[in-house]
Subunit: 606 residues, 2 copies
Amino acid sequence: MGWQRKVLRVNLTDGNVQVEPLNMEWAQQYLGERGLGTKYLYEYMDPTVDALDPANVLIFATGPLTGTMASTSGRYAVITKGALTDAIACSNSGGKFGAELKFAGYDLLILEGRAPEPSYLKIYDDDVEIVSAEPIWGKTVWETEDYLKSHHQDPLMKVASIGVAGENCVRYACVVNDLHRAAGRSGVGAVMGSKNLKAIAVRGTVGVQVDNPKKFMEVVRETHSKLAGSDDVKELASYGTNAMIDMMQEFGGLPTRNFKEVQFEGVDNINPSAMTRVNEHGHKNLLTNKACFGCTIACGRISHIDKEHFTIKNRPEYWHASGGLEYETAFAFGPDCGIDDIDALTFAGFMMNEHGMDPISFGGTLAAAMELYEMGVITDEDTDGVALNFGNPEALTAMAEKTGKFEGFGQILGLGSKRLCEKYGHPELSMTVKGQEFAGYDSRALQGMGLGYATSSRGACHMKHDVFGPDMEDQTGEGKAVPCKKSQDKISIIDSTGLCWFTLGTWGIKDFQAQVDAACEGDWTVERMFETGERIWNLERQFNLAAGLTKADDSLPERLLKEPAKSGTAKGKVNELDRMLPEYYDVRGWDSDGVPTAETLERLGL
Amino acid sequence: MGWQRKVLRVNLTDGNVQVEPLNMEWAQQYLGERGLGTKYLYEYMDPTVDALDPANVLIFATGPLTGTMASTSGRYAVITKGALTDAIACSNSGGKFGAELKFAGYDLLILEGRAPEPSYLKIYDDDVEIVSAEPIWGKTVWETEDYLKSHHQDPLMKVASIGVAGENCVRYACVVNDLHRAAGRSGVGAVMGSKNLKAIAVRGTVGVQVDNPKKFMEVVRETHSKLAGSDDVKELASYGTNAMIDMMQEFGGLPTRNFKEVQFEGVDNINPSAMTRVNEHGHKNLLTNKACFGCTIACGRISHIDKEHFTIKNRPEYWHASGGLEYETAFAFGPDCGIDDIDALTFAGFMMNEHGMDPISFGGTLAAAMELYEMGVITDEDTDGVALNFGNPEALTAMAEKTGKFEGFGQILGLGSKRLCEKYGHPELSMTVKGQEFAGYDSRALQGMGLGYATSSRGACHMKHDVFGPDMEDQTGEGKAVPCKKSQDKISIIDSTGLCWFTLGTWGIKDFQAQVDAACEGDWTVERMFETGERIWNLERQFNLAAGLTKADDSLPERLLKEPAKSGTAKGKVNELDRMLPEYYDVRGWDSDGVPTAETLERLGL
């Protein structure tokens, strides 16, 4: 068990709703969430179709541990072909929506086709309905959630939705659930928009069963207590993910002004101490922390803006869900755009949730546009008169709103940095892999991170591998392939459980394995966990190869390969991808073109 | 400990804010919440002043167990001279506001005077501010909470506020916190309105300490586990308080059509089975249950309206907090007004929360108006054209809205039934004691309940004594004085702990005593608990006597004393108050005029 053993399949084109049994053979091979969603995607769609074509398939997948008593059991993943990347996309999210979908009785929700008119999907256990979204099309994520809860008179309903950005297929539009959690990356919200699907509203009343309840309780008691005693958890709860910003600044791995630099002079104005200190107006940015379903860490931030300092024009009193700076938002709006105004960063972060956009990609795209503006390629005529200089907080908030509402220059920014830089004749300025913008770790300072970025199936991403240790210890490309591959496999399986890998500072793979083994049928050993992770990674690769991607897509922008870091511990260094990549292919059992060999596929049962 | 040892005193007239140490001698004599609030009220105000005069004092009081790990530890009380009753008022409430006030560091909040302009009070720990309420004056409770959270950008803020009814001193206006919990009775919201105080917004970050943590943990583990295994708790969680309606119908103690009858033919349409069954449109009224802070019972209801059946005119999509039928609301809007439309009852219930009014008193007043309407005393001219016949659901919802907005005939209904019936020359039709409307228990069927109603310090009330057992066993007035007195004392002390007495089906006084004793300094024995309860009861009496109330106010309407019950187990019976009251005075150690003797006062240290 762990699984609900049921899949909800909705064809939006003809309105057909079908409940089918979960393919348990696949569940044993791919576990759940990321892995199982990928398997279903791979089996049910042609990888060559355009991401925004109705023939693309959009899957919401829970894991066998989603909605259980395990800590951090609120995760679900959205799997589809990404609108930003034209590669496989798997974006996961927390909050409460995933557990609720599981409680409604489903492991997976598969969305096919395109609704003839704007619609939302209402799921109350077995009662599934496609409803006209006419009253909410054109509304923000926050307005949409308000409307749905009010209209259905159900404050306990959980909602995942898109904003106007998603409706208009902004390439990095995301799916936001519970007002400020998001399946953020690769444009899964644009795919949802292309399907004319505004929202999914769900309420579930079915429990989740585990295979061996007594053992599960024992294991969960132990894993809970590990988290409770962990310094890593204390740090995440106290400082949130933005604790990273000081570390990266010191290390010299904090990409600044579209990766021209690796350290940012304004970091002290936007780091955790800036969030927690009382400023001269008596204002403190951070209110408190907040947890997702079942989570005993609570890394989420609840912040508010200093209105005495920062005036928001033409905005009603309107933040019932605030959110707050997490590291990637702080990096992408801060150093990457050269801005050190904490209120502007915070407000732009709110807008990402309100309008449903990925802050990393928005920030990266704005940073590229800023470089083009300072070069004179983009002018005030393009930008509706807004000065796009690095460091201008007005540019950040004005453009966040324009992009969220799909107005003016926001429509261009909505293309993402790859398409935007190509449009203006400077593709080299797009800091992306497979069209997706980098997270806040410079791969000249962190070599293995660069290898992870280059080889991640969904484009540049810091969440699909974990080589911090080796990267901090050794700043050459040596010996990065093995830990990169191993951590990719490990995270692939963790992403398939329904749990969150922010636990990895405390839990080892054995802790995940013990929870999976107690909850699910089958003998889930550590070895099998790694093998399943490797199977998932290779299946994603197969999808991308079938979609037409090649070795050439496993690359980094020239800036990271040729322009040495200007300061910090990696001063003078570039990324050594050329050295790492062949070794990585080899370790993976892929040929020199990055194609899994027949042996590898057979070994993994692919 | 248990106590925070701090009192926040705010003079609204001159804006003076003062933090003073809690009088620990009084705390040892009156424990907290109801008892301690009463002591402070008694010491700091002249009981003869008009309830709506600035010289009335309004106290928000937490108990020593409020905000602790004890189950149901979310209670706080509002103590003042009641606008409905001109007697002492003590209304308690759950939700999360009370615990938050405690976390801000205060046992008591004392509000004096009248603000020169509409204001709200903002309390962030030691940071206390009186702020202009200009943007929210005239708004509903729900709009007010939305505004405050948005304006201060703090979704975690807890709010207690009044609606337009409270602003205009509707006599039974209440204080609503957390959108649908209320300090409901006796018009404490009208007093708040008379002070020009729209809301109290609070956030606290101070922990609560207990005297003997180890012992407290042990005791709390035991009291939690008792609740977890209790059938009474299961019933409250499953059916809510409305489980009572079937029992009272069967017994013949369900006041119907302004107490003309004691059984209601439409009960099957508004009882828990009606709430939980799926109707012909596929709609189920009850969505789920909901708990207050720290509560492991969760008797609260979350319901929604069948829109296919029940159309709400001119209303936007607007219920982010729904609430749902509890017994007293079901009784007061249902049998007492002869209405069996569950959606009308539910919607009118929402409006009580939205506009901040006590459903018992509103329903009782409407029932009296309906009787006067059917007699021809009130006509369509008075009622803005709405037919006020018993059984008309339109009358219920239209008048709930009018009263909530203080419009038209709603201004007359806002007087309460005593003043309304006097106005129309029929004081005998007001089903009240000390001006406060009865709860849903007919005192011809339940004799001791009648004695409790008559002697309750805050007027007719079912929450200040507990004689169900004796009343169900024996339907004469015999032997009711002792259990009535003893349960009044018991509930007085329970109401002073910070815990909820809906636990009484499972916990005995020893369970409360053990929790208090572990949390607080001093040796809190069962005997001392009863004695403290009795001291509180007598102090309330002293307040009322000083306010000018006499024995004549310990009475019941003639209808209950002279018109026999028409059906049910008490068919032919009237209430035997004349027999019970002298015995009660005697048991209390009061003279024949209901005045505590010098001996009694001395024994209790008064």
